[in-house]
Symmetry: C2
Subunit: 417 residues, 2 copies
């Protein structure tokens, strides 16, 4: 009951604060962000020492090195948090722009004005920089934000929050524009997901388990992606060197990212030409290959099971399948993929068009590496997540994904007959 | 178990059919729609006689005259169904258009292509014309549609479905692009709402109870509006004749529609000037008025309770409140309204801007009647519903609301460093 009251009050405060930030003009929002940069800079030692407290507890608990690494805040982390905010300051204010204003037959003038969503809920694990990045994006887009970080990062998150709220205060803005749920009660997320009256959208950041759990229990719309099972289809009408270079880059640039390649689809006509060469490249980088039956007759690799086609390895593993033609490739991608990012290598005008039209993914590419599917590469500035859902926003989500539009009507006394 | 199997199979068939319609070109989609017009025309007697069967049962069951009226299909209904389809044929194809194509620093070219959503689920009551309107909008926007109409209209809906599927067949398109769930089992809707793997969006059409039930139980995103509690705020800097004309039109044009006025907010400075005249107009039309305490000192009307500010009357009733200034008006609208449509009467440039920016509704108007909030008036063509949600689509929903976008990347062999 205490927990419910606490969450309800926090949500109500966020809702009230959301009006304040939604009415703020560009200068005021940028001023708050500039203040935060100054305070991060001034309070660097405090941020690092608070983070130390989290690190000590986490090491005692025996958390993995990877997790500890993600949790760590040092001078470089703070520098990159500041760099992110600088970039967000430089982005144009997304709020209040009016699109498509036109006169209608009745004489009224109709357009669409961009507005904030209201209150954005972010549920995330480990990385304390999310506290700063997500808050800055929400401030710039006129939204209040309600943060729920992992318990392992509680002191770090509280310290970062202190700086952000101080920055808001110095810009004469309500500190509740950015709030953090600090209770150690593990039911807090469950309560938060019931607050559809106060929270407009939930963005989970973390492992697949966390995101699935949130999606299943939320009464609030969720912007998310669960998997990044990305494909590269190498067509028979192709530039071999380009195909090798892109298949290499998309798989081996970084293994743990959602836009990394997981399945390579190869046209049967060029399989004997292409596969031995990509095999050498992957072999040299210790990438484990798993092939369909036909592939096995050409390469000395492990057999792929049906499970492989639906697995995001996030590791130095790739599955390989030989397909009859582009239709089978598209069918495979739409059936087994995760609608994240898929690319074709082809010299054919017709096939490039076909692939672009028929592949049902948030990013569809021709002759480019899937690694480009990223808010920064797409010119969106900072990224609050990637959506593989179709509604509201699809693909990398930047400032614009945190806004919506309303119709505005300018009349001169018109009534409807 | 039988029901589950039936719904699952139907959903799977819709998913398969959604590829077919999403790949269809504009001519093929328009041809299907033209065929349907011809078949409606040819089968008019069949449609009317099947509808008679529904009418007989409904009369026996003692359904209200209003419901029976909405259920009825006659020559005029068929004519207006045909007229709707003609308008949809004339609308541009929303699918495949590419926006904002540009070169990025890496050399890749990035744009956004419009695509269908996939499978649209429509759950509706009574009106058999929804079967035709919704199907036509989905066909044109490249979506498959799964319909669940009310049991009272089952024969009418089946007859209309027969014509639509025949029209699809004659255009060499999969008949499953439009399907109707025909079982009399009342759990069918519940099963349908679990099929988030196959259905991309649910659009409920009907009473508030139906929509609330669907929204609560759906694992699939819902496009909806529950209430249309629309406000008109009459500012003190105003054109009295305009205010009277619009307050009259917005309330009395039609009482049962969602964009009708429910609450009139009046600036205290002009209350004695304005209220007696609008009182006369409403009185003459038998509109029952309910006023705040201050209003009661000027007009001989019923007292409004707190309940009145959150009630959509859908009837010849209006609530009236005197406010101190525009800030109180905006506060009242955002607190008690339903975020549907709200309008201000003012001559002030500053106040018009303030109202447009701060009122958090799907349509915000200056010096115009709320009655204009409508897909047809907004130039969207036919309307599949109105959304008061903020995500994906807000306001009247036409063809464009049934689409989404995907990023497309055109490269020349680029890899990411």
């Amino acid at each position: 009951m205490e927990l419910q009251k606490y969450i309800l009050k926090t949500c109500k405060d966020s809702k009230i604060a959301s009006s304040v930030i939604s009415y703020a003009d560009t200068n005021q929002k940028n001023q708050a962000l500039k203040n935060i940069i100054k305070i991060f800079d001034k309070e660097a030692d405090f941020l690092i020492s608070e983070n130390q407290r989290d690190l000590i507890v986490s090491k005692k608990k025996g958390l993995s090195d990877a997790l500890i690494d993600r949790l760590k805040v040092d001078k470089n982390t703070i520098k990159s948090m500041i760099q992110s905010i600088k970039e967000i300051i430089d982005l144009p204010d997304p709020i209040g722009s009016i699109d498509g204003m036109k006169y209608l037959p009745s004489g009224i003038k109709l357009g669409k004005m961009t507005t904030p969503l209201g209150v954005v809920g972010i549920i995330y694990e480990s990385r304390p920089n999310v506290t700063s990045d997500a808050s800055s994006l929400c401030i710039k887009s006129g939204n209040a934000v309600l943060l729920r970080g992992g318990s392992e990062a509680i002191h770090s998150n509280k310290a970062i929050l202190f700086c952000i709220q101080e920055g808001l205060k110095q810009a004469d803005l309500d500190q509740n524009i950015v709030q953090l749920i600090t209770t150690t009660n593990r039911d807090a997320v469950g309560e938060m997901l019931k607050m559809s009256k106060y929270i407009d959208i939930i963005i989970p950041r973390g492992g697949k388990g966390l995101i699935q759990r949130i999606n299943r229990n939320s009464t609030i719309p969720v912007i998310k992606h669960l998997d990044g099972i990305c494909h590269l289809y190498v067509d028979d009408n192709y530039d071999k060197q380009m195909a090798l270079k892109i298949a290499d880059n998309a798989k081996t640039r970084r293994y743990g990212v959602c836009n990394a390649l997981e399945t390579l689809l190869v046209h049967q006509n060029i399989a004997t030409d292409f596969l031995p060469d990509i095999y050498k490249i992957y072999k040299a980088k210790n990438v484990q290959m798993r092939g369909c039956k036909q592939t096995l007759s050409m390469l000395d690799i492990k057999k792929a099971t049906n499970e492989d086609w639906v697995t995001e390895y996030l590791a130095a593993i790739i599955s390989i399948k030989i397909v009859k033609n582009i239709d089978e490739a598209i069918w495979h991608i739409n059936k087994y993929g995760s609608h994240h990012t898929d690319s074709i290598i082809t010299n054919s005008y017709q096939k490039s068009n076909d692939f672009l039209r028929k592949v049902d993914s948030s990013s569809v590419m021709v002759n480019a590496s899937t690694a480009f599917a990223d808010g920064f590469e797409y010119g969106l500035g900072a990224e609050i997540g990637i959506s593989t859902d179709k509604l509201h926003v699809r693909g990398p989500v930047g400032l614009k994904g945190l806004t919506c539009q309303k119709y505005i009507v300018l009349g001169e006394g018109q009534i409807r007959s």
